[in-house]
């Protein structure tokens, strides 16, 4: 897939704007601006360029500038019957670069995997204002170290995303939501019996199941697996919570066992382990996990080693923290 001259020019201009000196932070759609803490006051703000550089449907990959709104990306892909299942809560505002820098996956992670697995190539601006490429525009690649995954979720503290190549998927022929009658079933039991559901959500009372694929398969699963305990609904429950907790299986089992009584509302991604909530500390305390999540000392030291090499003067997104270190 070629790199267009316009794309090259805009990432070059972005690198120039980032430059070599002074603290700089990058803004996308500001939909997750609170994640990791806000940049230090007075930090110069830059924005990555936007636009789809090239989409080759026969390769099922798309090269897109980091400042592209997710809606614009998927509108462009829809004409060819394709999509990238990033699925942020506010796709009209959220940018591709912002979604990846924050690293939050969409509700279809159960089927399509985490956001990081859609990334095939990144071009980012390093702390010296120079463009760095990692990965490549093919669907399978082990050429060199995997800086793509290192960048996803790094909140722009190691480099500022300028352009990415993403893996596309065919748009499913059928896409339907189903909602259970209240308090009927163990959501994990349902999730275990549905084959490759796109999403299973649960709020402690009701379960929503998103089925996608061949229309006959979706209909058969709805009838045979979900049965009369579910009814079709036109839209999923709102996922517009401010925070998300990440539960290991043991903590998720406590959630299922009803140990989370008071601090609602919340919505859990069954089979994934993510809980969306506005009260993360309360939910975490109930389930016996730490909030905010903490790094072990040796891993925290590696974070410092990485930061010292990628951004020796600490000019990239100062104030933002990817995690809290355990005090040594």
């Amino acid at each position: 897939m070629g790199v267009s001259q316009a794309g090259l020019a805009s990432v070059g201009a972005f690198a120039e704007e980032v430059g070599r000196d002074g603290p700089v932070c990058v803004a996308g759609g500001r939909t997750q601006w609170h994640v990791g803490g806000e940049p230090k006051p007075g930090t110069r703000e830059v924005r990555a360029p936007g636009g789809v550089v090239s989409h080759q449907p026969a390769e099922m990959i798309v090269r897109v500038l980091a400042g592209t709104r997710v809606t614009d990306l998927n509108d462009g892909l829809a004409a060819a019957g394709q999509m990238v299942p990033l699925d942020p809560a506010a796709p009209d505002h959220a940018t591709v670069g912002g979604v990846l820098a924050v690293g939050h996956s969409g509700p279809r992670r159960l089927r399509y995997g985490p956001a990081r697995d859609t990334v095939l190539e990144v071009r980012f601006v390093n702390a010296d204002g120079r463009l760095v490429k990692a990965g490549g525009p093919v669907v399978k690649n082990v050429t060199g170290y995997d800086l793509c995954r290192l960048m996803v979720g790094s909140l722009g503290t190691l480099g500022l995303l300028a352009e990415v190549v993403l893996r596309c998927y065919p748009r499913p022929a059928a896409s339907r939501w189903f909602r259970s009658v209240p308090s009927l079933r163990d959501p994990r039991e349902v999730a275990g019996r549905v084959y490759r559901a796109s999403s299973v959500l649960w709020n402690g009372e009701q379960t929503w199941v998103w089925l996608e694929g061949h229309p006959a398969d979706v209909a058969a699963q709805a009838e045979e697996v979900l049965g009369t305990a579910f009814e079709e609904v036109t839209r999923p429950p709102a996922l517009a919570y401010r925070h998300r907790l990440s539960l290991p299986p043991a903590a998720f089992s406590r959630l299922l066992a009803g140990e989370l009584s008071a601090p609602g509302p919340w919505l859990a991604e069954v089979g994934v382990g993510t809980v969306h909530t506005d009260r993360p500390a309360d939910v975490a305390a109930t389930l016996g996990i730490s909030w905010p999540p903490r790094l072990e000392a040796r891993v925290a030291a590696l974070h410092q080693e990485l930061k010292a090499r990628f951004d020796p003067t600490g000019r990239l997104n100062p104030g933002r923290q990817v995690a809290v270190a355990v005090p040594v």
């Binding site: 019957g81 050429t143 060199g144 790094l295 990628f310």
Partner: protein, 485 residues
């Protein structure tokens, strides 16, 4: 940059004594004949180890690392030794200690509800899938070497396999890694929760080819076995027709579970080996598998049949019976063993090209082999664009090695020129280290070195691999004596 390994190491006898104290004498080997076996992997490269040791626990791995360093020696992690890029070949300014994980081969825990397992690094890939099959699950990465390669090796190489077309490569199936770092400390990367805090060091570690530490426990994601599977075998009169069919399937928006191609030379060798009824008179065959729910599988299989016929497929055999499917896959996965019938040596390449350019690149690859008077076959993951040109030869034939190597270099350059990359699943190791500059700028390589140096600031962990000389502060430029590329 701190001083790297000492220029002169302490005597081997003292090293053996210290390792024997920490492990046990029978798991530390220094006899030249035995150590010689660990000078190679499945590539055409070789090096020389000082000592080989076989730890049983993370604590023993950490001890082996610390003792190696105390004796001024680098160390080289090794799984089953099936790597094809020299990643496990011992190299260093002084002969390294090879730390072999094959004896750490227990499946520690299987959680069928959460669909995950904790394993030790020496567990063989296929053994894991067999062990979890009673739960209706499997470990999705399925390299052709899956009967002999280890999960630890899969992690080091971010291994692929035919079914990674749909399910993704190893990185998509690794949740957490406990590793001994180059300083002898132990750390956990990733976790069982969906979004562990901090940078994705798990993702950075996967595919680092043993240069950032030694995985000692691995949590893997397990994938449900599909309710319906159909395998199609289509055969063609021309390579062009088969490659165009591949492009046609992808362009139609179908993502098969696997989409493999074998040319006539490989098909003949495979058929003589497994007798699966592969058509040996076809110029190329495609093995296409679709899985999932029944209606989607049937629709995709029909559509693939239509596309293949439109591109001139001669016959299409549909296998839905598990035994027949298993036989077809046995053929595909035996290809590299089967070519031993053609000539005693082979050099297997691994590059990826955009899928729309398969036809032209394949034609160039055959032309290169012809120009160098070499026998070459192709058997590869066509759906990913992941080529595996296979040069078969007899290294005793005078003057053949320079031709084999020259052809290999030209194949790689053709793939890069078509917009491809150096490796799809075998890794860079030693083999392709000095070609990294074809794809990456100095700034790109410097950023990769920052990652590696954060884990291994003193360059003691599998030195001289992956990054070309000069990318890392203090790197020695030349390959070690005994290694040849």
């Amino acid at each position: 940059m701190a001083q790297r390994t000492r220029a002169t190491a302490l005597p081997v006898a003292a090293l053996v004594a210290d390792l024997s104290d920490a492990l046990s004498a029978d798991r530390v080997r220094s006899e030249p004949a035995e150590v010689g076996l660990y000078g190679r992997d499945a590539s055409v490269l070789s090096g020389k180890a000082a000592v080989v040791c076989f730890p049983l626990t993370p604590g023993e791995v950490a001890a082996a690392v610390r003792i190696s360093r105390a004796h001024g020696r680098p160390f080289v992690p090794r799984g089953s030794g099936t790597g094809l890029a020299g990643g496990a070949v011992p190299t260093g300014e002084v002969a390294p200690v090879v730390i072999v994980t094959t004896k750490m081969n227990r499946i520690l825990e299987v959680d069928p509800v959460a669909k995950l397992a904790w394993v030790e690094p020496g567990v063989l890939n296929l053994d894991l899938s067999r062990a979890v099959a009673p739960f209706g699950l499997h470990f999705a990465p399925d390299p052709s070497s899956q009967q002999s390669c280890s999960v630890g090796g899969n992690v080091a190489n971010n291994s692929g396999g035919p079914h990674c077309l749909l399910y993704g490569v190893t990185s998509a199936h690794v949740l957490a890694i406990e590793a001994v770092l180059p300083d002898g400390s132990i750390a956990l990367f990733g976790g069982l929760e969906p979004d562990p805090p901090g940078y994705d060091l798990r993702g950075a570690f996967v595919g680092s080819e043993g240069t950032m530490g030694i995985a000692t426990r691995i949590a893997v994601r397990l994938t449900p076995l599909p309710p319906a599977v159909t395998t199609l075998l289509a055969d063609f009169d021309t390579i062009e027709a088969s490659a165009a069919t591949v492009s046609g399937i992808i362009a139609a928006g179908i993502v098969p579970a696997a989409l493999e191609m074998m040319d006539q030379r490989i098909t003949e060798a495979v058929e003589a080996f497994v007798h699966a009824g592969f058509p040996t008179d076809a110029a190329a065959i495609l093995l296409v598998e679709v899985d999932g729910l029944p209606a989607g599988v049937a629709a995709a299989a029909d559509e693939i049949g239509v596309i293949a016929r439109a591109h001139g497929a001669r016959t299409i055999r549909v296998a839905t019976d598990p035994a027949e499917r298993a036989l077809l896959w046995k053929g595909r996965k035996s290809a590299f063993g089967a070519v031993a019938r053609i000539a005693p040596n082979y050099y297997l390449h691994d590059t990826v090209v955009p899928r729309t350019r398969l036809v032209e690149v394949l034609m160039q690859v055959y032309e290169i082999a012809e120009r160098h008077s070499l026998l070459l076959g192709n058997v590869f993951h066509a759906g990913d664009g992941n080529l595996h040109p296979l040069i078969v030869f007899d290294k005793r034939e005078p003057g053949i090695m320079p031709r084999v190597l020259a052809a290999g270099a030209e194949i790689m350059q053709v793939c890069i020129a078509a917009g491809g990359v150096l490796s799809g699943e075998h890794g860079i190791g030693l083999e392709k280290r000095d070609y990294m500059g074809l794809l990456f700028s100095e700034d790109d390589l410097a950023a990769q070195a920052w990652l590696r140096d954060a884990f291994d600031p003193e360059g003691v962990c599998n030195p001289l691999k992956v990054l070309p000389g000069g990318s890392r502060c203090g790197d020695v430029q030349q390959l070690p004596p005994g290694a040849w590329v």
